[in-house]
């Protein structure tokens, strides 16, 4: 069971109050992109054992989307941050590094 904190209403709730929305920080490739780019955007996802970044929605609460960083192996939630972020905030990355030295996820580490 994940305990997530909604960055908008400050509620710490268990995961049934939220809804998972897939991988975070995807760059959209639409019309005009190459077939390879579009395929990667549509189908290719990270599947890490360890640090992972996801989108979540506080579906039974304020209804807002946000980002969460968590460990897929231990279900530990490192932190959450607003959906308007294009990359994980520096302080969160530092906090993850303290707990999982040498972690890497896509271009972030």
């Amino acid at each position: 069971m994940l305990i997530l904190r909604c960055p908008y209403c400050g509620v710490s709730g268990e995961e049934t109050e939220f809804h998972a929305g897939g991988e975070a920080h995807l760059k959209r490739f639409g019309p005009g992109s190459s077939d390879a780019e579009f395929e990667a955007y549509l189908f290719q996802r990270e599947n890490p054992k360890g640090v992972h970044f996801e989108r979540w929605r506080h579906v039974n609460g304020c209804g807002k989307w946000f980002h969460a960083a968590r460990c897929t192996a231990t279900l530990e939630v490192f932190g959450t941050y607003p959906a308007q972020s294009t990359e994980p905030p520096a302080d969160l990355r530092k906090a993850i590094s303290a707990k999982r030295p040498g972690w890497k996820w896509r271009e972030f580490s």
Binding site: C9, G10, G13, N60, G61
Partner: protein
Amino acid sequence: MSDPATPLNGAHYAGYVTIAEAAPRGMITLRGDLGDKGFAKVVKAVTGLALPGQREFAAKGDFAVAWMSPDELLVLCTYDRANAVVADLTAQLGDLHSLAVNVSDARALIEITGDDAREVLAKLAPVDLSPGAFGPGQIRRSRLAQVPAAFWMTDTGFQLVCFRSVADYVFEALSTVAQPGSRVGALV
């Protein structure tokens, strides 16, 4: 004007707490930028209540204002005045990017009264309802069994709102966990 048809037709259940549909109440969804000073001023002028902070619930006289999300408030007033209050809000908000809608008939309002009201609600919602964690003046939007709901405390227990379409489900679920003899007694 004909009487409003409430979602539960005044249903009432007496278990080890009492579950009852509340009298018809005016409910208005008000959306806008809660950080805008002009928005706060209009809310104060119309309801007489200051803008509530995060997850706060404030009531005074006929009005109550609840914080629903960073851009949404729930305004409670008397049922008959809801349309007038919407018109008043809309007129006073003017060009400010905002929306006020009368949702009185789209919601069900249910009251849970009794000493063990906290426990009955805690059986259905994944929320810490111990007195130290949740008290009067707060609102919590969460899940009640399988549907979304929002609740706050009154002098005698709780009031909760849910969508009208699931009013019967919520009432039955609450009645089931409030059956006599099902008291747990862990949450005082």
